[in-house]
Amino acid sequence: MAKILFYGRLSECSDTLDITLPKMIKTTSDLMVWLGSQNPALKKALEANGNRVAVNRTMISTSCIITDKDEIAFMSPLSGG
């Protein structure tokens, strides 16, 4: 099962998902499109500027291959300090 986490503004659109990824999902981009198709509010939030994506707690800057063993996090713009 893949774990899909949402942080910041995106956490308002979805709870954490523990799911078996549908077969057609091979990458983080595929996952983003699929999540958006399930949830219109999340689709809009995922398309906003400045979001980050992490796979297994590493930030990624381009789409990346994922499997059912991965933890994928979608994050709205970071703001600390």
Binding site: G50, R57, A73, S76, L78, S79
Partner: protein
């Protein structure tokens, strides 16, 4: 990531650890009174690693003797200390720059999220254009 802490005590403790250090620069971030409450959230198991990574980058880049980063999460009120950063080095310039760098990274490049409660309404605070420009200063 921590609950409320005493920045003076932590800084004194940090200073006492140091040997052959010529300079300590520290930054204390305080919640302004613009909002009723500030809520800081983080990504457990990831934020700590990213905070440490930023500290280690600064340690290496400025050849620091040591550094300290304490960042609160949870609900805070005006006047509460939200973050304490300190850098120790042989000479002052390195400690000033390293502290500035660490703060810029914490502001918009480490997994923290900020919400502000004002008159009962909650809104997400996102980095300002200034925060992004600040971060760019270190890209060399």
């Amino acid at each position: 990531m921590t609950e409320a802490f005493d920045p003076e005590l932590e800084l004194a403790r940090f200073r006492n650890y140091q040997k052959n250090t010529g300079a300590i620069v520290s930054f204390t971030g305080i919640v302004r009174s613009d909002a009723d409450t500030l809520i800081l959230s983080h990504y457990p198991g990831f934020t700590d690693d990213e905070v440490k990574r930023v500290g280690e980058q600064a340690l290496e880049r400025w050849g620091l003797k040591d550094y300290m980063i304490i960042h609160r999460v949870g609900e805070m009120q005006a006047g509460d200390v939200i973050v304490l950063v300190a850098a120790a080095s042989r000479h002052r310039r390195d400690a000033f720059e390293a502290t500035d760098y660490i703060m810029d990274k914490l502001k918009s490049d480490v997994p923290f999220w900020k919400q502000e409660k004002r008159d009962g309404a909650v809104k997400w605070i996102e980095p300002r254009a200034q925060d992004k420009d600040d971060l760019k200063r270190w890209e060399t």
